[in-house]
Symmetry: C2
Subunit: 351 residues, 2 copies
């Protein structure tokens, strides 16, 4: 019987709706297995800017530091996107939180669901059985580099840096994951042009001998962006830097048939945060059409992180059951029209 404190950051747009359903499922798990989960809600993102002026208030950051895990909905608002001069932005909160908690490894499993093959834009025979685990470095690279303007604001810069240590710590995790899977690790980089990519390649190569059972290979990011669509089944574990991981993992979501299915875990040496890959999808806010499954599967990854493997499996089975029964939101089946809450409740009930 575990006693855990979970900080919930519902965030913006559809974040609160999908988080609500994931919490519902976690409560059902706690009831069924006799655990005690305490949920503390805090502000981050555009809602936090609105309320406090800061996208990541001190109170939120402190709570996250003290929590056993963080569950995040989504952040972001078009108000800020369309104003390139806004000095304070929702994304700064998320980026800072990742950095402050030391969440250097973002883990994104992408699988083709048999029930949803027809939803993918890809032909079924190309994706059936695809099962990719993406390790995206999350606290380095150009997203965290120095940035600014010069030349009276008429020029801008973003600097990308990586250190051997930053690469090593996530590379070891990726190799270890490959050892428990199909023993293949693909490093995605642009080593024919970028010096940081060459450091990645060199560093990852240097530890490969420690994992003799894992076959390591390399793909340039442009080629990778193509191969992921052409032949997703060739991949087992993919390791890549922050920005390439951002692009490649959203792209790979098409394999699953919907971005609304894809969870992620962001882990460091101590803290851990769980969030769907999808964004705040402001157009859908309050309409009850947001798919809660990505956040519910993120909650399953949270249970794994607590060592609750059986509980996590139960949640995944419940999700499969919902897919089997077509209890899904309209983007997956316009005919049935289940709401976010109905899908969440169905899954919680099946736990």
């Amino acid at each position: 019987i575990l006693n855990k404190r979970i900080v919930v950051l519902p965030g913006d747009g559809i974040g609160p709706e999908v988080c609500g359903e994931a919490v519902r499922v976690l409560r059902a798990v706690a009831d069924r297995f006799g655990h005690e989960f305490q949920f503390d809600y805090h502000l981050m993102g555009a809602c936090a800017i609105e309320a406090t002026g800061s996208p990541l208030p001190v109170l939120t950051l402190d709570a996250c530091h003290q929590a056993d895990a963080v569950l995040l909905g989504a952040i972001g608002d078009p108000k800020y996107d369309n104003d390139p001069t806004a000095p304070v932005r929702p994304e700064q909160g998320l980026l800072r939180l990742r950095k402050e908690l030391g969440l250097y490894a973002n883990i994104r499993p992408i699988t083709a669901y048999d029930q949803l093959l027809e939803h993918s834009p890809l032909k079924a025979e190309r994706i059936q059985g695809a099962d990719i685990l993406i390790f995206r470095e999350l606290t380095g690279g150009v997203y965290f580099g120095e940035k600014g303007r010069f030349n009276d604001g008429n020029s801008a810069y973003d600097n990308c840096t990586y250190s051997r240590e930053e690469i090593l710590r996530i590379a070891h995790r990726a190799f270890q994951a490959a050892e428990t899977r199909r023993h293949k690790l693909t490093l995605v980089d642009k080593a024919n042009v970028l010096e940081t990519s060459r450091l990645w390649r060199e560093t990852v190569q240097s530890i490969a001998p420690e994992y003799p059972s894992v076959a390591l290979d390399f793909l340039f990011v442009d080629n990778a962006a193509m191969q992921i669509i052409l032949n997703p089944k060739q991949f087992d574990v993919i390791l890549t830097e922050n920005m390439f991981g951002d692009i490649i993992s959203d792209e790979a979501s098409v394999i699953a048939g919907s971005l609304g299915l894809l969870p992620s875990a962001s882990v460091g040496d101590t803290a851990a945060l769980f969030e769907p890959i999808h964004g705040s999808y402001p157009q859908a806010k309050g309409k009850g059409i947001a798919n809660p499954i990505a956040t519910i599967l993120s909650a399953a990854m949270l249970l794994d992180h607590f060592g609750l493997t059986e509980e996590a499996g139960t949640v995944r089975d419940a999700v499969e059951h919902a897919l089997d029964q077509q209890v899904v939101t309209p983007e997956l089946n316009p005919a049935t029209r289940y709401t976010t809450e109905q899908v969440g409740s169905f899954i919680a009930y099946a736990v």
Copy 2:
């Protein structure tokens, strides 16, 4: 009747084979329409390193400066890719050539060929009729920024910079292209995180009023990487910075059914270079299986650049004819087994 000097840079891997066929087609065009094309062959890439120590010998650069157009095969060799410490690399030649010739706009048309719908990993109904024109900035950004090591080689950096002018000159071209097409321009950036992206957004927005018939919209690159696969028909002209363009355009190649079909033009205020999107594909070198169509269609773009619209159309019709007749290399039809040369000759004959 035109008299033109074309520098041919066959390059590495399959480059010489595909260039050979494109030149064959250009000779056929010259014969049929009474033009004089003079072809001067020069070294660039790994072959140039081998022969001269430099990936872009002075002789080559001078010839390109004096040419009316440059036709390039492909450059690159795995020997350099797998050696992160190699101080001289084939890619440096190409990057420097682009910079020296001021080829700031790389234009990549991507269309779904009806004859090849079955070859695409995407479902036919998603791509049929897709017709995208990608404007990739080609001489700025992180590929050309300062790069290096510090901290005893244990850290690396790549700096990305953009100036308003660099953005303006390609943005005007992209807007103008949209005016002749379906009047939609999508800027792909990561303005929620990167300062250079915010400069792109701001700058492109600032000239939008000069093109009132064009609808401008914006997509974050992660979302764009997904949307290009989910719904390619939503796009008309895409404008983006160098690295995003590299990734997005290779990815979008899946729409065409093969990378071997996709041409590109790289243009500046004076010079112009034409090359297939695909790389040097060293595994296929000398086997006669390389698809020459991408280079032949690049030659068609070269003819357009000379103002030879009818001639360019004739080449495109000849390519369509080859596709209709299934006179294609094995990746498009393993049953027929035409060679690179047979496909090239068929197209040249049909001109």
